[in-house]
Amino acid sequence: MKKYFLIAILLLTCHYIHAQDKITISGYVRDKSSGENLTGAAVSVVETKNGAITNDFGYYSITLPAGYYHLKISYIGFMEEKDSLKLAKNIRKDYLLSSSSDKQLNEVTDNANSGRQQVEKTQMGKIEVSMEDVKKLPVLFGEVDILKTLQLLPGVQGGSEGTTGFYVRGGGPDQNLILLDGATVYNASHLFGFFSVFNGDAVKNFELYKGGYPANYGGRLSSVIDVNLKEGNSNKFSTEGGIGLISSRLLFQGPLIKNKCSFIISARRTYVDLFTKAYNKSQASDPTYNPIPDYYFYDLNAKINYTIDSSNRLYLSGYFGRDVFGYNRSPFNFSFDWGNATGTARWNHLFGPKLFLNSTATYTNYQYTIGSTADIFSFSVGSSIQDWALKEEFDYTPNVAHAIKFGGDFTYHTFGVGRFQLNSSDNSLNFHNNNTLFGADEAIYASDDWQVSEPLKINYGARLSAFNYKGNNSVNPEPRVAARYKLGDVTSWKLSYTRMSQYVHLVSNSGASLPTDVWYPTTRIVKPQKADQIATGFTTLIFGDKITVTDEVYYKWLYNQVDFKDGAQLFLNPNLEQEFIFGKGWSYGNELLIQKSEGRLTGWIGYTLAWSYRHFDSLLAPYQTIKPKYDVRNDIKVVAIYEINKRLSFSMSFIYNTGTLTTMPIGYAAVQGIDYSRNNIVPVYQERDNYRMPYYMRLDLGLVWKFHPKWGSSDLSFSIYNALNRRNPYFIYIETTYAKQPGGLTLPAQNTGQLVSLFPIIPSVTYNFKF
């Protein structure tokens, strides 16, 4: 593996030696008001019509021949900066951009043109939405949620109604890599998927990759969601928060040492349990009263950064969140808690103006525990996954024609597949079982974003990944290629091919994100999942560059796909491998995105036409080829945000998609059983996902009303979820009524299809403040 790595580096770097006599300008692009690094900001050189994009830490580096240059520094949502420089020696220069929200509305049109960047870059299948826009969009129960915002994008299919689960380009829910400051988040939801673990106040930015994956990402087949927390305001102390229908938030940030060290800490908690506890207490004297179970969730985010000197910076960040469910009625007590904990330590180091190192150590843990006591017995089950990971990521920019990335990562996994314990206080019972598995994955990668000529740019690279389980090594090369060819000034055609490998697999047959879902490693029986994806498309600007139109066609081949036997026993099963079935899949489609990022009216229209298939030889013949439930043929999304004036903004989102698939029985059998204890009418299923539910359509409306109190700022955010009050399908079932026939025989008299919806129209309001 080391050998391949060295060869790759040599190949990528050998022809850049001649560039040594040129001059380099480098530095950071930051938010003027908070000092936060701006990721993905464009630093353009007017004379050469190229430039650099800041990396995840706001760093840029441009190497040019000596001379006089004009620079434009732009970032979506911020005012563009211009600069003129005479390059005679290496220069270190940081730029501070002002948020466009700080200016009058008529100045916003001077905003950075993100469409230009999309035309220029080789990257396909990547979408970013600013947190400012996310906070303006209508939400369910007043909770801002970045994962639900992702569901408004083309190519991303939402899971069950109201939940944060999502499917990207025909991939499964476990094929999405979710990173929080570089640490993997294994279960990114609260309350059985209705809310994500990401507190919108603490998130700086997030990116979604649906294809054309950069070589530094790996480990999942279908998407990467890279979420970065704010670093903390380095200029002044500030507090912000919100009071919502179900939760409240508070964030505190500020400098510890001016321009050297800053911190941020934020928390969120639901408070329904405070009312249920009080009510339970008031009813305590009633012996017949059954207490309402307690439920709450909370999140804590913290981050601190310290600038050692101009070449070294340290970051420490962490997340801790829990869902807690409890029921206490002596002598029976039941508890169920689950949650994630992540920790990240980062060191940014500049070896020189051209070579940037991001060294990251992460820890992540997800676990659930169900505990119960009844009289003298106690019972507990649980599962967990824990990772320790180290990543070394280098950005090397030898000249304006090349942006090289190389590095490697190592992750050590501990899978607590099934913990089980049963005890009694009199020692008459004492059982426990703990099936713990270990595995390690490692990868090295290298890529180069190469401006071959004015119209042609190629991003080529590879990732070599491996997974080790009990001495069994699975090594997989993952080539990554993307090309962009400009057809004129405002249009480019793009092409990409990527291969991804996935070594951990989600054990869930519920069709929903449940806390009891278990992650399982690649073993001798369970092979790594793999996917090849090709995509091609174009990006063009229309209406005076104000609107960006992107269209991508993709085809994806999926190998070693994991599913489950019928009636699989996944809970409390130490031999989970016996429950798996293995197969292949393929999906293809077209995604159209029309986006307007500037002016008073912003938003996008997305349309996806897609197909997805899976094939499992071990399924009942001839129904081995199936369409997964998230095979949605037509998907339309419209999102609009209109700034009525500086204090009022209106937003709407509209979703229409072909109904998702569900499994319906073709008939029923009358099952007698050895005793009359069993159910007698048993649905007979034949083919999985054989029935398409009615279409889904939802209109959400939002209004943000800003105030300017004596100090700070505040707003009221109104939302109407499902403003059309449409009964969208949640699930369908067959309801049977029985009747006695002559002779006393009881048989089904009528069977009817019943469609169940989850949410009618849901209004909500949240009060947000900042000072």
Binding site: G511, D566, G567, G667, A670, D675, G743, L747, P763
Partner: protein, 357 residues
């Protein structure tokens, strides 16, 4: 109290001024606009409240166009050892089978369309170089089922069976004079049985199964919950082997009268299936809920079951539970019947009775 007042004052400072009482400080919006904002907010809430109040039900009937349906043979055929308290002969096997047609959800159903009548149903096994074949009789009811008032979904009803030398119906032993000792079906561990069904309408179903060891219950003890004066059972037995074994346990209160059934529910209080995966080869223990009262006479049956039957029960349970459950996973029934859908299995069992004093 003082703290609360101060907190309230501070909180008030965070709140925006009331737009209806006091003009907001100028910041680009005209007074006319501000009035519009207030009106807009009012309309927002009044409108949404009105819409909510007119909410329809979240469940509605819809037409379903299910995939084409073709009826198939639904088979349940069980080979069991007789209750030693009811039949003194050793190693005899009783057979009962329920053979029916699977049904279309949207077609009318009655007993005639449900049951398969006139089929040839045989069970055979090889022993000492000979093949013994037994034809099952149709409509030979061997249980305390009232044939004049058949309640298919309330009472046990099998339409084919092979009787033993004598069978207990209610409290009476019925002897079948036509069944000679030559027609007795025997069992021993490892013996393979074959089921064959021909309905004379072109449908033929076959299956095989193999006899298992019986397991004996070592002990049954109880624990007491003082809160509601109930007991639970702790049943212990030795695992049959170091292979993966499957069990089904049933516990039934024997001395419940009809008034008790109305009050306490069905006498069958526990019916669970499980494997020995957690403690393979050792003494197995199963507890249960607090459902028993002082004076109850409880019969505990322990079935040593085959994997096919365990999978069948599991998938039948999953299929039933998945309908109407958004978190459920629909399952096709794990069948070991070729040419049909269902189960053919042996059911070796033992029992113990405990009286809670």
């Amino acid at each position: 109290m003082k703290f609360k007042i101060n907190t309230f004052i501070r909180f008030r400072q965070l709140l925006p001024p009331n737009p209806l009482k006091k003009p907001l400080r100028p910041s680009g919006t005209s007074p006319k606009n501000r009035g519009g904002v207030a009106l807009l907010a009012s309309i927002f809430f009044i409108g949404t409240m009105l819409i909510i109040s007119s909410c329809r039900k979240l469940q509605q009937e819809i037409p379903l166009n299910l995939p084409p349906f073709k009826s198939q043979l639904a088979v349940e055929c069980y080979l069991g050892n007789p209750d030693p308290t009811e039949c003194a002969l050793n190693n005899l096997v009783g057979v009962q089978a329920a053979i029916s047609n699977t049904q279309d959800y949207f077609a009318p159903v009655n007993l005639n369309s449900l049951q398969v009548k006139g089929a040839d149903v045989t069970v055979s096994y090889d022993s000492a170089g000979k093949t013994y074949t037994f034809r099952l009789d149709e409509n030979l009811l061997i249980n305390n089922c009232d044939t004049s008032n058949i309640k298919l979904f309330n009472y046990k009803y099998f339409n084919y069976s092979f009787s033993l030398d004598s069978v207990k119906i209610g409290t009476t032993y019925i002897h079948y004079p036509n069944i000679t000792t030559k027609k007795r079906m025997f069992f021993h561990t490892g013996l393979v049985y074959t089921l064959s069904i021909d309905d004379h309408n072109g449908r033929v179903a076959t299956s095989t199964t193999q006899w298992l060891d019986t397991v004996s219950i070592n002990s049954i003890s109880t624990t007491f919950s003082a809160r509601d004066t109930t007991y639970n059972l702790i049943v212990k037995w030795n695992d049959a082997s170091y292979n993966l074994d499957y069990y089904r346990m049933q516990a039934r209160i024997l001395n419940m009268d009809s008034a008790s059934v109305v009050k306490r529910g069905h006498p069958l209080k526990q019916d669970v299936t499980f494997t020995d995966a957690i403690n393979n080869g050792g003494e197995l223990v199963i507890g249960g809920p607090y459902r028993y009262k002082q004076g109850d006479s409880i019969e505990v049956k322990m079935f040593h079951i085959r994997k096919e039957y365990y999978d069948y029960l599991r998938t039948v349970g999953a299929a039933v539970n998945s309908l109407g459950n958004p978190f459920g996973q629909p399952a096709t029934i794990a069948s070991n019947v070729t040419g049909g859908l269902g189960i053919f299995t042996v059911l070796p069992w033992t029992k113990k009775i405990i009286v809670i004093k």
